[in-house]
Symmetry: none
Subunit: 160 residues, 2 copies
DNA sequence: ATAATGTGAATGTCAAAGAAAGTCAAAACT
DNA sequence: AGTTTTGACTTTCTTTGACATTCACATTAT
């Protein structure tokens, strides 16, 4: 029932937790452990453990080859949010938004309530009246503006 | 004979009752259970479980895809926001949004930071790529979803 | 001894198949 | 007239597998 991607993501994160944010894995061994084809590991690494999400992944092929996964050193929440803004392009899918917010929470760059507000504001529900092609574009703008809103000095915003 | 929509609505509400206001459903499975085509579930969700009614619905496609339905907790401290949702029509101007947020702050229904996030998310700036006529319509949806997001029990959202 | 070559052991790539949910408009109710 | 019901088609995300590439090490040729 549980998605393979989720299982793999969890396993890697657990290893990272146990090893101070840096772990060396063997793709084949891990694949065997979770009962999947090796390329599935590659898929998870490239969709979940991206630089944009704060991870660095290095690898070596050949005999004794290996994959190193590292959590990037923790940035301040403001830095983190700014960096996040930079990674967002012209478009943003719902899932991308969700992942960004999840990571922001786990890095304490925002709290769960704030994340929920933003997720709701840029959900497909909220943008349902738009042309599907337009959605990801507008979502990117809504998302970026909401994040930018968090960076604004609360005593100096445009509500008062 | 009870209408299909009513049956489905009841079933979902029952699940929500049994699961503390938040439930993850499989569209296909539920459709099979109540003997209807899957798209009927989508129809019910989009006509009954709207932000205006205090619900947040999120979904993921693909293998292991799922739909999450969340109900705002009937906390008295959030009554104000719920009532506010009801007053918002199909369209919402920037000015109106700002006023609603200012009022919400003065009623302690949200804090300044949260209001700033929402204001930014539905600002003309965020919606700048849209046709001016479309802006107020989309803004209404973004605003409503954001508010509904605040009503969701944070421990119960589907970000984690 | 050194350079070239072979060999097996890894990881990378990519596209097809599969598994869900979303869309939309026509038909059927009320 | 306005809602509900249905179903064909679309989009998104996951899973799999065949094939390509790279690397360390052993072996062979000069």
């Amino acid at each position: 029932m549980a998605r393979l991607v989720d299982v793999i993501e969890m396993v890697i994160n657990q290893m990272l937790d146990e090893n101070d944010g840096s772990v060396i894995i063997s793709r084949n061994t891990l694949a065997e452990k979770v009962n999947c084809v090796p390329s599935q590991i590659t898929y998870v690494l490239s969709t979940r453990f991206t630089p944009g999400n704060g991870y660095i992944v290095e690898s070596r092929r050949g005999g004794g080859g290996q994959i190193t996964v590292m959590r990037a050193k923790p940035l301040s929440s403001t830095e983190y949010l700014k960096a996040m803004l930079d990674t967002i392009g012209r478009e943003l899918s719902q899932q991308q938004a969700r992942l960004l917010l999840q990571n922001a929470i786990s890095r304490k760059a925002m709290n769960a309530r704030e994340a929920t507000i933003i997720m709701a504001a840029c959900s497909d529900r909220a943008l349902g009246k738009l042309d599907p092609d337009a959605r990801n574009i507008v979502r990117a703008d809504v998302f970026k503006n909401a994040i930018a809103g968090m960076l604004v000095d609360v005593n100096n915003n445009n509500l008062r």
